[in-house]
Symmetry: C2
Subunit: 572 residues, 2 copies
């Protein structure tokens, strides 16, 4: 009955219920089926506990454990979704998983666009080739019928993954320490921080201030605000044309120095940020695409997505100022050494996850947790409603765009053709006095055909930007359940600690520490929510204005064309 397994790497138990194992150690498992990525078993010393499923190899038919380091590349593949097979060829054996990579199997679910960095795979074209296989949903044409099941470029919700995860996790976090090591609260470092386990050296430059603003806690404004343009996506080749990729020209306003970046650089940056900031909604990158990566439409669309993304990055008081983002924006594209240095530094950054909270300074007066809870609950309801209505608006806009491109265009062009046909019939009368009318009707026919074209061209000018904005916000809305979950987890710890103090199981000072740290998390969460509302109002106001202006121009253009046609009758 006993199922044997071999540990592929060292695993050090960090929490109660986990089982430490050494590489090549033989374990006895209770089942070969993992529970959320964990297997239960006993080690050679008879200790019982959970071990990450990806850390062990089950030995079927009790065959002797084949100590073969090359199997690592296989299991590596399953964990590093964004790294192509062969990406580890320079390794003699799989590297021991770092604490951040422990959760890779699920992070892959959370952050689709997240990839693990390594200097060795940096120059591979993994964003141009194999990684695209991870994004089968992004394949497809524009404006697919929402009622059908066709794929759509405007995928509106990426929330299924993280939400599902958050839902699962929410039910835990009720005991002193969560058994579910993959709960966002735990993963993000929120739990470790609240329990006082985070430690690190906070440099002055790392300090992040939450101040008390008019509407509650908010991030201190960036004293040196800047923006960054993204221009001229150009196709580049290397390896004598064997590989090609698109390079974007980034020009930050504070340096006025252009740097070239590829999508994979954005992707790497995104991964760093998502890892570093537990309660900040890092904007999602525009989606990957399997086919047509070099097609103009796709490139233009991605560029627009990256511009939106960049706008949200530079607008965020914390994200805009963080080192890794500044490195990304300012490091010379040609100084490879400086780039790699900054890259390594970012990947070794200690002030990530739990430690990030150490860098936060809060307003002098602690928050009223009851008030915080009510605010957070209100925000949760809000995000749900906004998510629903964004989805609806997106579906409507998508369908409206499709109708304009097909049906509306067709109707106006049919009217145009009918007028043309009438003018052609009229031309057969050979009456001198009717030639002016015939020409005018013919022109009217052309005008309606042109109006049909206007309808077909319009969505790219007004509806597409609306949908781009909605896509970006769908990303934020997908982030918030995790953020809320971290704050809720912290609040649960406070309640527990109060109970423990009452029961005499905990020192008051210890509980006060938990309280203080929960206050930090709450301040950061509320500051992030406040920031979200502010950019939301800014963005939606601007986008609605732009949409209406485009619509007005559109109808004015139609009116102009009709007026031109009408004038033709003056001499008819």
């Amino acid at each position: 009955m006993a199922l044997r397994a071999k540990a592929l790497y060292d695993f050090n138990s960090e929490n109660q219920g986990e089982l430490s194992v050494r590489e090549n150690e033989i374990l006895t498992l209770y089942s070969e089926h993992d529970i959320e990525g964990w297997l239960e078993g006993t080690n050679s010393r008879g200790d019982r506990g959970l071990v990450p499923a990806s850390y062990v190899e089950i030995l079927k038919n009790d065959a002797p454990a084949a100590i073969n380091n090359n199997t690592g590349s296989t299991s590596g593949e399953s964990r590093y979704a964004n790294v192509p097979s062969g990406g580890f060829e320079n390794f003699s054996k799989p590297s021991p998983p770092s604490s951040s990579t422990i959760s890779a199997p699920l992070q892959q679910q959370d952050y689709r666009q997240h990839s693990q960095g390594s200097d060795e795979d940096w120059d591979d074209d993994w964003d141009d080739s194999s990684t695209v296989a991870d994004e089968p949903h992004s394949v497809g044409g524009k404006y697919n019928d929402y009622e059908g099941n066709g794929p759509s470029t405007y995928r509106v919700s990426t929330s299924a993954g993280p939400r599902g995860n958050a839902q699962q996790a929410r039910s835990s976090a009720t005991v002193g320490r969560n058994l579910n090591r993959f709960s966002t609260f735990v993963k993000s470092g929120g739990e470790a921080f609240v329990l006082g386990e985070a430690s690190g050296f906070v440099k002055d430059g790392d300090k992040i201030c939450v101040v008390m603003g008019q509407y509650g806690p908010e991030w201190q404004e960036n004293p040196y605000p800047f923006s960054c343009t993204i221009d001229d996506p150009t196709k580049q080749t290397k390896f004598k044309g064997m590989k090609s990729y698109i390079s974007y020209k980034l020009t930050p306003s504070h340096t006025q120095t252009q740097v070239n970046r590829r999508y994979k650089h954005f992707d790497w940056l995104y991964a760093r940020l998502a890892e570093k900031f537990p309660v900040i909604s890092v904007p999602h990158l525009p989606e990957k695409q399997a086919t047509g990566r070099f097609e103009e439409d796709f490139i233009s669309k991605r560029r627009k997505g990256l511009i939106w993304w960049m706008n949200h990055m530079t607008s965020h008081p914390v994200l805009a100022r963080c080192d890794v983002f500044q490195h990304f924006l300012t490091c010379s594209s040609t100084d490879e050494k400086a780039w790699k240095q900054g890259k390594r530094k970012a990947e070794k950054d200690e002030m990530v996850g739990a430690n990030f909270f150490l860098t936060i300074s809060t307003p002098p007066n602690p928050l009223d947790f009851q008030e915080v809870e009510s605010k957070i609950d209100g925000f949760k309801t809000f995000t749900k409603r906004m998510d629903d209505s964004s989805l609806q608006l997106n579906a409507t806009a998508n369908e409206f765009a499709r109708k304009q491109i097909s049906g509306f265009k067709k109707e106006y062009q049919k009217v145009g053709m009918s007028f043309k046909s009438l003018s052609q019939a009229f031309e057969m009368d050979q009456q001198v006095y009717s030639s002016g009318l015939n020409q005018a009707i013919s022109f009217t026919g052309d005008a309606y055909e042109a109006i049909g074209e206007y309808f077909a061209e319009q969505p790219s000018k007004d509806l597409d930007p609306v949908m781009d904005l909605l896509a970006l916000y769908q990303g934020h809305l997908a982030n918030f359940p995790d953020i809320i979950h971290v704050q809720k987890g912290a609040l649960t710890k406070v309640k527990e600690s109060q109970k423990h103090v009452e029961e005499g199981k905990m020192d008051r000072s210890q509980a006060e520490g938990i309280n203080d740290r929960c206050n930090i998390i709450s301040c950061a969460t509320l500051a992030e929510i406040q920031h979200f509302h502010q950019i939301r109002v800014r963005d939606f106001k601007a986008q609605m204005q732009s949409y209406l202006q485009e619509q007005i121009s559109f109808f004015q253009k139609i009116t102009g064309k009709l007026e031109e046609a009408l004038r033709k009758y003056d001499d008819a």
Copy 2:
């Protein structure tokens, strides 16, 4: 073998091949199957010839002829399609058919809206009750799908009847006298006139001049042009509310005196005109409708149709001036005696059909018949093309109207609802600084719902009038094959006479007479074609201008609404 039949009325042979019979005379028929409404037989005196089938009653099983005057009402019914059963109750027996009613069985096919007048049936509500059964096709809603088989209010071609008839008739008219007594050429009186058989006293007031204009023969302009408004269709009742009908207020500009007329009065007038003028395209009346006769939509639509009809009547130099039309326009609605007097006079008018041509005076130089033939052929091709493209435009306009009322409206309103829903979600954020935006988005939602309504309302303002115009012209286009046929018949007679002269079978003077009379018909035909082109250019120019103006106003209204919405964001 011999089949016996009894003559129901006196019939006087007017042409070679016809057989005169007296009422109650017994005939022997060669077959009980009529050929185009005629039966061949011999009378009691042994004369052989053709007799109208509706004038005899076949005696089956050689039963004695039942002399029953009341059978007249049955056969009357079949001839007077627009007269309800019971309409002849005041007659002791069927009135002897006049020359004009001989052709009634086929005229019914030609002129659907044509009814035979009689003082006795004048006060019956035959346009309000049983006559509607003659128009099953006009039942139905607006904007039916043209691709489906549903009924449509915008029936575009009423040409099947007359065209088919013309087609049948065209192949005759090759011998000295046509055997087919129902050919339009014969029916209209064209043949009789060309052969010099018409005679009548032409009063000065009846004189109609064709003059040589810039583009060929044309009707002399009406020296006293006038117009006539049609206002306030009102529901009237009589017989203590038992009967109700719609009365239209007509005010001719030359009298400035209002008269009230019902649809049946128009209908009666139409019948007089269609009978009187063989080569003039009398505009068709708007269609009858079986159901919903008192519904506002229908009344408004019929009024618009009558206005168009009236416009074409007053625009026509010949129709506008003719006595029966003037009587219709000017006779007091309350002076019943004067009305009946004029009515009887019109019904007894001798200058109808063949005699009408007697009233025409032509330009001094006769036309070149070869040129006439080429012009007429060109016009024939033109009408075919115009008919096709009008049909197409009508179908397109109908479909376009339908789309705007359903699909376009729906799409814009869906966009409106999605904006509303977004604004409602945003209202949940309870942030003071976003309430302006929320209101602006909500207003934008309302604006799009309003725009959806604009789309639905628009077709009645621009496409409906276009379709009304097309319907009127479809009527004219349906008239022209008969008109062309009369001219072609006359030309054939000329060719025959020339051949007969060459063969010495005919006096040169006789042939010259035929030539002269063919010249009169040709002048009238070309004048009518010229008039058609002139009103066509006038009408289509005006309608296209009006359509474009309406479209421009429409898009400006949309633009205005959007600008209003855009301004809401200024304070947001």
